[in-house]
Symmetry: C2
Subunit: 185 residues, 2 copies
């Protein structure tokens, strides 16, 4: 019932390091109306649900410059050109940001970060039985600390608004969907 939109033309607007912007004029198949859509093209992103052998969730706290506030998140970041897969990117981010590594790593979900205005996918990587093996290796533009949260507390903290990053909430939901049960008890 939903039909494709005919494209009239596409033009590059600008390239801003974190994304490049394109404007595309299209025709609405419902009414023939012309409309211009601006889309941000960015590399894919990974978020890592990393669980320790003691059933704790590894979280990172950092000051976020979009929200201008300190956020409690899970490890993650932009895929590098040298990453061969989202899984590899997730394990790299986990190691660099927290020093942890683990077992049974796998992709448990993916979704467009914001399909209305962005062309980028966020992958959720699960890593289990994590232990601290390495020193952290933060980028020059990063400052973050690692904490461990008992899995049994995650749902309560999420209910209280502790996780203020929508993509982190989506990753935690992927984890609950993968388990087939809520994060309680």
């Amino acid at each position: 019932m939903i039909r494709p939109w005919d494209i009239l033309d596409t033009r590059e607007l600008a390239d801003y390091r974190i994304f490049r912007l394109q404007a595309t004029r299209k025709v609405n198949p419902r009414n023939g109306h012309e409309h211009e859509f601006i889309v941000a093209h960015a590399p894919d992103w990974v978020n890592v649900v990393a669980i320790t052998a003691d059933r704790e969730l590894i979280v990172v706290e950092q000051f976020r410059h979009g929200s201008e506030s300190i956020q409690t998140e899970i490890p993650g970041g932009v895929m590098d050109p040298t990453d061969n897969s989202p899984l590899e990117a997730g394990l790299r981010e986990l190691r660099e940001e927290t020093g942890y590594a683990g077992e049974n790593a796998r992709i448990i979900g993916k979704a467009f970060s914001n399909p209305a205005i962005m062309h980028t996918t966020t992958f959720t990587v699960l890593v289990e039985n994590c232990r601290k093996f390495h020193d952290v290796e933060l980028d020059q533009g990063e400052d973050l600390v690692t904490h461990l949260i008992p899995l049994d507390d995650v749902r309560r903290l999420a209910s209280e608004g502790r996780f203020g990053h929508s993509l982190v909430l989506a990753a935690l939901y992927h984890y609950e969907l993968d388990r087939g049960a809520p994060l309680t008890g």
Copy 2:
């Protein structure tokens, strides 16, 4: 332990209707390194978990120009300047996109859409006992259709990847957190 970053200067980069971009130079409190952050400033957004009297979730299907694909989402959209609150914006979007209205409307969650690069909050609005009261009123640049999904099927469909919009997954998780139970049985 996480300290604020001193701001050196901020400059406007551009205004692109859907957001305006700012670049801010800051000093990393960890190492004194200067770094420039680009931030998109956009109006807040609402996503609406709308439940019918028959315990169905109201979803909308539309072609999304960021992902270049048809997405199954929940009603929602950008707050208008005329909306007095996120709640009002949610009820307006629900009415315009689907023709439905309901009872017990309230905010059940909020999170930054992407605090790494955007200054904008997405609110999750819950509306219960919804019924179709109105004709749909689509914008010139919209084409969407409404479907009803039994609540009991939502978790399975989410597990299968049916909801490809991260902010919709975050809203469904807000709904599960608000219920205090998973969407099953």
